[in-house]
Symmetry: C2
């Protein structure tokens, strides 16, 4: 059973956290057979935390987790905090395969996404 955990920063604004939860729900619906479970976790300021998010997936039977940082740049959180949290869980669950994907800002598809998004956002020619 392979699961996907989206990790966002977390915000004091509930609406921003709810936006991540809604995105996760869309991912869950679109994932099809690719991921048995799709959930989200937050580095800080919102629940569940990264450890709690991984615990819940493992308790549900996941033996393989892809952790995907929903960040646009490689700051300290991406470079240090999230890898450390993942490494602690790898030690706790040696039989679970926990992969850390690169942050979404580093995705090869980002350039095309931006160009497509900019094109869609155009109003009528003026």
């Amino acid at each position: 059973m392979h699961s996907l955990l989206i990790v966002a920063h977390g915000s004091r604004r509930d609406s921003s956290n709810d936006e991540v939860r809604a995105l996760t729900e869309c991912l869950r619906q679109r994932a099809g057979a690719r991921f048995a479970r799709v959930s989200c976790a937050f580095l800080e300021l919102a629940e569940p935390s990264i450890p709690d998010g991984i615990d819940a997936l493992v308790e549900a039977g996941t033996r393989r987790v892809t952790v995907l940082p929903y960040f646009l740049s490689a700051g300290r959180h991406v470079a240090t905090d999230i890898p450390e949290a993942v490494e602690r869980k790898r030690r706790q669950y040696p039989s679970v395969h926990i992969e850390l994907a690169s942050y979404v800002g580093a995705s090869e598809g980002m350039i095309d996404l931006l160009l497509g998004h900019a094109a869609l956002s155009r109003g009528p020619a003026s």
Copy 2:
């Protein structure tokens, strides 16, 4: 002449700002005929500012600018700060058409980007 301005938050870390500049360079190369110019600006902590970024495009002959917020969630910056900066420039340049795209996190393509990115990041099956 239609130009694209990517607006990022800006960081105290030069490497994060340079990452946005590198992304902008990739966009420039990939844009082809879609945008005559592609540049970036920062809300705070880095240069150029949003006003300076728009000024430079207008001075270069742009008569239409699409401003694309490179943000993942709709916090205050996306909801208020960037629209206000754009509105001030619209008043300053009434003959220039300045469009504000929605932030990239709201892009319809984000779900597929994340699923594709998660799939690519998978190690060998275990």
